[in-house]
Symmetry: C2
Subunit: 283 residues, 2 copies
């Protein structure tokens, strides 16, 4: 790939958002930064090899005391393709270097703790790429849509989450936040497809239709949350998600840029190579 | 692929071992069941697609109350290629369905507990494919080689591990145990290669040479352990590992066979498909 300095973080710059976020003004069918599916496939494949090497360097670095990690936070409406993005992007990387977690409706045990408790338990360790399929942002979005939280409580959570993410970044974690921005019509298509194919029935949940009736409320909630929590240390990216090949490419590129930004190199060995070669040859 | 009934579990039958195991009699450069690298690549690619579907069925089944899971236990000497096998086999599967753990030298906290404590914490949940890169078998092999355990204690561990694995199988976990059988000369080549390439230096550990001098003791220990713990419910497979393409294929085939043996199908939906379609179309 060989990104020059001038192109550095170009995907992040292209897709990151600042307050006030107007989701309706961002085309869910857009493909900013790439011409078409074929061009995307070419970049994706080449970047998969780059990514594999960068992940190995991140891991190697941690064995030699490096504290860096990466955390990808994926949010989006049902069927926005979070799982598919994980499969495609992480599929090119050594599974040993990935720490993936899907956050579901909180369990009884999780509800008995602070909402960040379950999040902290799943953070990537140094050398790892963490992937959150949904996240602590559910604790802002869902209560807001269902009006089970006061605005004071929401304000407190905004501050907590900002402090939490700042702590992560200060500790060496690069945080990549991506909202998969799906069109309402495309969601309908995707849900219908799940009902049409018997091998997809298990992916359909009647609750998805309930949530769909709340679509405008969720879009409003996302606009406020993205506007409020897109910070300099952990900006939000809005990734058009009507084309699955595009959202996978975009998240992959955000990850590659983040890893390149760490400017990692292969660690210098902490042993004498010649001496070890002699020892080994003597066996 | 389309395995017929008559071929069912043919890889497991081909590679499984019973007491007494004679490792010297099993060619580490052998490729039983496949002619050459090209033929292996063809089977591997076709099986990757099969595996992807089977994993999705296993996962779907668990959402509908199924209790099945699979656990792959990988053992082998340094550089035997455990990590590479994981990367290749698991790389074809949705990362969400994989639960991978590499067991390192036990930590202080782990040593303060029963040796199975850390193992139990990493077991696959229903619907998951667990992969252990090293395992509780280290707790038989290492103390035996370093003579830090009495034969009574070893006997007790054998019984405990047998009961432990029997419990797993009874609970719905298919246990696949694979010993990557590497040649002593090939290990030397692989270790030398790590010393030759600066991007591989981090993978080399001077302790690997120390362990190498204990090679015959480890082979003896493996023979006893494999002989003693290869049971009907959780047999050991000896996988020739001088060819990385072969060991990846063999472990993949063992996994495919295990999943096919579960005879999974797509779950019947627990909702009325037509009703949901009407609801959805009305949105």
């Amino acid at each position: 790939m060989g990104h020059g300095r001038s192109q550095k973080n170009s995907w992040s710059r292209r897709l990151s958002v600042q307050a006030p976020v107007d989701l309706a003004a961002i085309d869910t069918g857009g493909t900013p930064g790439v011409l078409d599916k074929d061009a995307a496939a070419e970049i994706f494949d080449a970047s998969s090899r780059t990514l594999s090497k960068l992940q190995e360097q991140l891991f190697a670095d941690s064995l030699y005391g490096g504290r860096n990690s990466v955390l990808i936070v994926l949010q989006g409406m049902d069927t926005s393709g979070k799982g598919g993005v994980v499969k495609r992007v992480a599929g090119a990387v050594d599974p040993q270097g990935i720490r993936y977690h899907a956050f579901k409706k909180p369990t009884e045990e999780e509800l008995a703790h602070h909402y960040l408790w379950r999040v902290e338990r799943e953070l990537p360790k140094p050398g790892q790429i963490g992937i959150f399929d949904r996240s602590h942002y559910e604790d802002l979005l869902v209560p807001r849509v269902h009006e089970t939280i006061t605005s004071e409580q929401l304000t407190e959570r905004y501050a907590e989450i900002d402090a939490f993410e700042k702590g992560l970044v200060d500790g060496g974690t690069t945080v990549i936040k991506a909202f998969l921005h799906l069109g309402e019509a495309e969601q309908k298509n995707r849900l219908l497809r799940r009902l049409e194919r018997s091998d997809k029935h298990w992916k359909f949940n009647p609750g998805d239709v309930d949530d769909r009736t709340l679509w405008p409320l969720f879009q409003d909630a996302y606009e406020v949350v993205l506007s409020t929590t897109s910070t300099a240390h952990a900006p939000w990216h809005v990734v058009p998600a009507d084309h699955k090949w595009y959202s996978a490419l975009a998240v992959q590129q955000l990850l590659v840029e983040a890893l390149q930004g760490l400017e990692l190199s292969w660690p210098e060995p902490d042993y004498d190579v010649d001496e070890q070669r002699r020892r080994l040859l003597a066996t």
